[in-house]
Symmetry: C2
């Protein structure tokens, strides 16, 4: 038995995405439901995988291909390679998950000198030559590995001579010369004539499309979107219809809804007298659909009808490619449309309200990343930013950064300047790395469906496209906008929601979130098993977190309170105290201040738990640096000042640590300086009883950091309890305060059963746990070797961003198991940065944690992620 | 049913140590085999435990006690409290494990004014009063908590007035006054008369002995010897016999063999006209046994006979306390005798040869700590050290250090000067802390069985006792020896093997190890399952390790080679290289040097494996410090010199790390700078083939440090293999070099199965693994919080010294399981410092490791420990 590798459109359907790729499956499905699709067939992804395994096309594929072409000839009534009635085909890539523009496509295949002449005779010569020169250019580049630049020089020359902007406006004479020159160039480059056998070309084209699965930009895109390298691409071979046949022809792309706002309207672009690649490449800026409406009203009406039908059929907004040939509509592709985060929510909520989707589908349609993008800030127009150009609002959001003209500069300037805006005439798939690196993208050419626009929307990055006020002088390395001349490294801002470009760095404002946004999160909350708390150290952040929907504070750090300018001198005096009484005096001055801090935070979170971590960082962090103090000593005028600085210097030298991350911090401080922790507990207790007395509902929890041995927790628990009871007696009130442990070093996970006996709750500190499990200092690793680790694929990703489930996760699993076996009532949460990262949240859900805690701005992200974690059998998104 | 708490000697035996304590069991056993033991009974350790649980003596104990005393009255024909024929008893402590001198004993109980008069009438008044004043002093101190100093003033006064040295030479008149003054002092201190009821005194004395279980020095001793606090002590009540009755009486202590050398001879001391405490307290320097022989020949002959009988009965060297009353021998105690490490080996090997013990018993008799002590260095007499005094050779070994007069000074000077010698007139159990801290002990009084001597031998510390040339002026804080006056902090040396004391710091020589030592280790090797390798970085250390019996090198660090003066500039140039070619050039200069290093080490270990770890430390460790470079820049005269220093400074600043322990080191270096590792592998390969060509048998193994993810090892393995193959091709030879992984971060343990797929062996680096598992930086922890952690019992011991089995050990268990499941042939060893620590070795044995690797000097220790680990059901030693 030989496995079947080729499926005619009539043999497939939407369920076969994995076999036919998204494009092949979509074309088959549209054929099945009777839409006007030019006939064709698809070579399966399995053939691609075999091609990579064997280094050649699978056995038997050529016979199947010959048969498939014959069937296509029957269906079209045309003949492949026959000058009198030639069949031309497109050869298009299409993987299971959409990778727009990442892989290659060859149009107009089936032409050679003879066929071109025949085609000219049947239609018109200019059309035939335009098809031929397009075919030669693309085929030579992709199948013969001839660099694109070998042609572009002569096209540019022609354009300059004829004073025209676009290649397709060339005169017949020029086209003739161009084709002749192209053929000569190919011969010069390859040493052979351009291949004249259409069958031979088809085989080469199929191989070229398979090969494009492994090109650099496709690999980068897959890594970015976590698409497995092993899937492979399908190849679709389809009879050509020609948007460049006449002035009643054209090609377009449309969305069934507005992809930026979600508004329910047909939204798209059309380019008359052009082939598909002209629209998506951004080489020409297309007009909107009204052009089509006036040019071919019946085709437009059919498009409208088809759009509604397809959206309803697929139950989601569609992105449709179409061609109009002599006034007749043909559909070339339909897929789930990429959309802005705001549009994603509006569309999904709209469909929910219309009863078209359920809650689970709703939650699967919005990714946590989209929620995050919506929380981005926007341009503050009240500050009158200086507008210098306007383009198309291609992808919403505001970006501020320095100008970079290419990938290399984007990487370099990100290191030196932090934030970068990629500014280019237009983008191509080769620019993907620079787009990933930059904060936003600005192009002078291309429309709303150009490469730059589509990719930027997919990434959730702001983009302004087609801002034609930009004039590049790449030889000088400058771009001028009006009277301003910018070079790389100069600052610029843009607003992808309005298409405006601004001089310098403009002020930004917080995001405005609409009702759909909040409604979505409420639905998520109902679904989620994990609670969401926030990490917040002050009443303002606590209030913000509460507005974002946090149900408590999972980590209230107390060190930032110590750092506040008015308090730092007291803290420093406390640290430098040589006698216990002096230390005690300083602590007594800190007590009312801390009490006030805790009062404010618990009041802002009234009714919800607030987990307060006792002092964690090494004490030297509160003192000036050695170099600073040495300066102060040299320049001191007041001798008392000098003595103070000298004492501070001695203290700093005494406290100096070789590896402060692993040094005298956390509960180690509490054990050696119990009076500091006692003061903090007293302040929490006083604040609690003040609030209780005022009729509030404070819910403090005391958390001991960096516990590695159960006796550390036991000692600190005793200290906290006795302090708490003393305040209870004094205040004649009581409140049973829970006392728990951070779990942030491997040993704590390994002996969690022992620790749990003294803990009311655990909270994973996965930042430190990742550092100690890997033996990576984050501060050093991220600057020194981690980027090269990820780049060299030593690690699949930065473990400080995405939880390392195999290592750190295994320790967490041990800790939850050990802790809950020893104490089934143990509450367990996570308060490391991973608590706001969707993949890590999913793992926390699987572990059975009670809550995640993250920074206030990530609370909405976490709320959605916790709900999606529960629907674990659902894919991350219907469309990657 | 009421539990029995009191056992007469005739009811017990050696098997009841846990119930009767060592002393009670020994007395019962000697009674059982018919030796002359004064009658008595023992109150069980269970009674002591109940006393601590209930805060009072167990119910029913008083009735049992009354009955036991009545039985004792019957056996002795004397009556407790009867002035006409008084029964006096001793009340003595005795725990399961010997704690010599740590707890309290009260002699002569049964006396009051009336009884003393009666005793005087029956014997002589001076004897009666001597007994009475001893009883009052001891009882007041221990049962009435009256400080000893309240009496000693008046005794000292009397001694001064009567120009005599010892209390027992006081005149009758003085003794009468002393007793009267003592009774007045007690009344003044307690507000009550000295208790006149012997039964009342007995009850109080029993409580006092129970209480002494928890005195400070006993607790310190137990912690040092790992004796559980929960055991409790027994109390033995025994009819008194009187060494102070007449000039034909006396008391003594003897060993069945020489405790320093192991020589088979009766070895002991005798003090005529004295009670037991005079000998052990070191308050008087006793004579040797010849005194007894001339004084009471038949008692001496019986002692000789008894000693042989007891040693044979117990199968081990005994330490016997005896008293001679009017020429008649009585035995008061027998126990396994403490002995020097050298004696321990000689005695055990002698008994093995005599067929008295088996291999397992032999191995259980010698502790790894004793092996370690034998490896201590001794005084180099060829350098003519300046001898200034001679005392008794109380505990062998040489010590060099600065003088400390008490515990506090010993602790303080250890911090500032490193090594300390405790110098005292005599030591008492209160000095235990200072003895632990010091390198050696020197006393001016006391014999071979004095407190100082016994405790020092137990600790394996050098001690010279009874060096009467020492004259203390404690008011001035000085001690003079001949013409030299020393104060605290002055340097001194002593040789505990010869009793000599030297001026200043004398040169030491390596230990001389006798045939018994090597024979013992050969027996150990036959027994052991674990192999023993050494950590060595150069041919000299490798040769030394081999002499000590190492069967290979488990860790050859390469960083020390980089640090050698001639090479450092090349290494620095390599690090500062701005271009890859410059780095390559420096590496090419290092190649022949490294090749030579590896050649030498493998040659020294010919026929055994040598595990070479590729470069591990962060590169900045090879550069001067920032401060040094800044100095150099300021003071540079040659401008090229300045430019070099400036470049070095920039490199240092670039390489600076916040937490270097967790930074850019180990295989992270290999991944970012593959050329360094490639050079090292090439050097190992060249050295291997040079040796093979010369007919040697090199067995290199390449070890990759700090692996946390299997891909790190995979990349480095590929690099090493391709380099190795290149040399194989060039040399036309081949050798299949094993490549393995350090396991030294928690993640490596957690994913050991994945790592094992790319590893031929694992080697645990437990130093780093302990650091990362606890989140402790050793450099910081040991100086800052670890001592206070151990002191506050947060941790049972320093985890860098003794492996933390609960935490780090659990990770090791996971790693061995994961690694061996993935690859059953995986060889696993340990090369952290724990590889030479006996308790950690025992755990490694239980884990099924293949070998331990430790520093050369610890190889013999490890050899014994590996054998003892296998005999795991045996206790650590027969005598704690």
């Amino acid at each position: 038995m030989v496995e079947k590798h080729i499926y005619h459109f009539s043999e497939g359907g939407q369920g076969m995405r994995a076999v036919l790729g998204g494009k092949g499956a979509g074309l088959a499905e549209m054929t099945r439901i009777g839409l006007p699709v030019p006939p064709g067939f698809t070579i399966s992804t399995a053939a691609c995988r075999e091609y990579y395994e064997q280094g050649d096309l699978p056995a038997g594929l050529m016979q199947e291909l010959t048969a498939a072409v014959q069937r296509l000839e029957l269906e079209t009534g045309k003949k492949f390679g026959d000058p009198t009635n030639p069949l031309l085909v497109s050869v298009r890539s299409g993987a299971e998950f959409s990778m727009p523009g990442m892989m290659d496509t060859i149009l107009n295949l089936g032409l050679n000198d003879e066929v071109a002449k025949g085609l000219a005779a049947r239609s018109n010569e200019k059309f035939a030559l335009d098809c031929y020169r397009r075919f030669i250019e693309k085929f030579a580049e992709l199948a013969l590995q001839m660099p694109a630049s070998a042609f572009s020089g002569s096209v540019e020359e022609l354009k300059f001579r004829e004073r025209i902007k676009w290649g397709d406006e060339l005169s017949l004479e020029s086209l003739r010369r161009l084709v002749a020159e192209h053929l000569t160039s190919v011969h010069a480059f390859t040493g052979q004539s351009f291949p004249s056998s259409p069958h031979d070309c088809l085989q080469k084209a199929i191989k070229a499309v398979f090969a494009s699965w492994q090109n650099e930009r496709a690999k980068v895109y897959r890594r970015l979107h976590q698409i497995p390298d092993s899937l492979g691409t399908a190849v679709t071979v389809q009879a050509m219809v020609f948007g460049n046949l006449s002035s009643l022809s054209g090609t377009g792309v449309c969305f069934t809804r507005n992809p930026s706002t979600g508004e329910k309207q047909l939204y798209g672009e059309f380019l008359a007298g052009a082939q598909g690649e002209d629209v998506v490449s951004g080489a020409r800026t297309p007009a909107d659909l009204s052009t089509l409406k006036s040019l071919a009203p019946s085709a437009f009406a059919e498009l409208q009808k088809t759009a509604l039908l397809l959206e309803s059929h697929y139950g989601d907004m569609q992105d449709i490619e179409f061609t109009v040939e002599e006034g007749r509509l043909y559909l070339l592709q339909t897929r789930v449309g990429k959309r802005s985060p705001q549009a994603a929510i509006s569309i999904a909520m709209d469909m929910l309200r219309d009863g078209k989707i359920e809650h689970d589908t709703l939650l699967s349609r919005i990714t946590p990343e989209q929620i995050e993008q919506l929380l981005h800030r926007s341009v503050d127009y009240t500050k009158n930013p200086q507008e210098i150009a306007t383009g198309l609002p291609a992808s919403p959001g505001a970006a501020v950064g320095v100008i970079a003209f290419d990938n290399e500069a984007a990487l370099r300037l990100t290191k030196t300047h932090g934030k970068v805006i990629l500014v280019r005439p237009e983008t191509s798939p080769d620019d993907i790395q620079g787009m990933i690196t930059s904060q936003g993208i600005l192009t002078s050419r291309g429309g709303m469906t150009s490469h730059a626009a589509v990719v930027a929307r997919g990434m959730g990055k702001p983009c302004v496209s087609g801002a034609d006020a930009l004039n590049f002088d790449l030889s000088q390395g400058t771009v001028s906008i009006g009277k301003y001349v910018f070079k790389e490294g100069d600052e610029l801002s843009l607003d992808g929601s309005t298409g405006k470009v601004f001089l310098g760095a403009v002020p930004l404002v917080e995001p405005r979130l609409n009702d759909d946004f909040w409604a979505l999160l409420c639905i998520a909350d109902q679904k989620a098993a994990l609670g969401v708390r926030a990490n917040a150290d002050n009443p303002l952040d606590a209030a913000l977190a509460r507005r974002f929907g946090a149900k408590g504070i999972g980590l209230c750090r107390t060190e930032h309170m110590f750092m506040e300018p008015g308090r730092l001198p007291i803290v420093q005096a406390m640290i430098m105290a040589e006698h216990e009484e002096d230390r005690e005096r300083s602590l007594q001055s800190l007590l009312p201040v801390q009490r006030h801090d805790f009062y404010g935070i618990m009041k802002a979170m009234d009714g919800y738990p607030v987990t307060i971590r006792l002092l964690d960082p090494p004490l030297h962090e509160f003192l000036p640096s050695k170099d600073e103090l040495k300066e102060q000593i040299v320049h001191a005028i007041d001798p008392r000042e000098r003595i103070r600085s000298e004492r501070a210097l001695r203290t700093v030298e005494r406290l100096h640590e070789i590896n402060p991350m692993l040094g005298h911090r956390g509960c180690r401080l509490g054990i050696t300086f119990p009076s500091i922790y006692a003061m903090q507990v007293e302040a929490i207790a006083e604040a609690t009883f003040d609030l209780l007395a005022g009729g509030h509902n404070p819910q403090p929890e005391i958390m001991i950091p960096l516990v590695a041995h159960h006796r550390e927790l036991l000692l600190m628990r005793r200290l906290a309890e006795s302090t708490w009871h003393r305040v209870e007696l004094r205040r004649k009130m009581n409140y049973p305060v829970p006392i728990g442990s951070m779990i942030e070093v491997p040993r704590a996970c390994l002996v969690a059963g022992e620790i749990a006996l003294h803990a009311d709750f655990f909270s994973f500190g996965t930042n430190d746990l990742t550092q100690t499990t890997f033996g990576f200092s984050r501060d050093d690793a991220e600057g020194k070797f981690l980027p090269s680790y990820v780049a060299q694929d030593v690690l699949p990703q930065n473990p400080f961003a995405v939880l390392d489930i195999a290592g750190v996760g295994q320790l967490m699993r041990l800790a939850v198991k050990g802790g809950r076996e020893a104490k089934p009532s143990l509450k367990v949460g996570i308060c490391g940065e991973h608590g706001g990262e969707p993949a890590s949240i999913k793992f926390c859900h699987e572990l059975g944690l009670d809550y995640v805690s993250c920074s206030p701005y990530r609370v909405p992200v976490a709320r959605l992620a916790t709900a999606r974690a529960k629907a674990k059998d659902k894919p991350e998104s219907t469309d990657k």
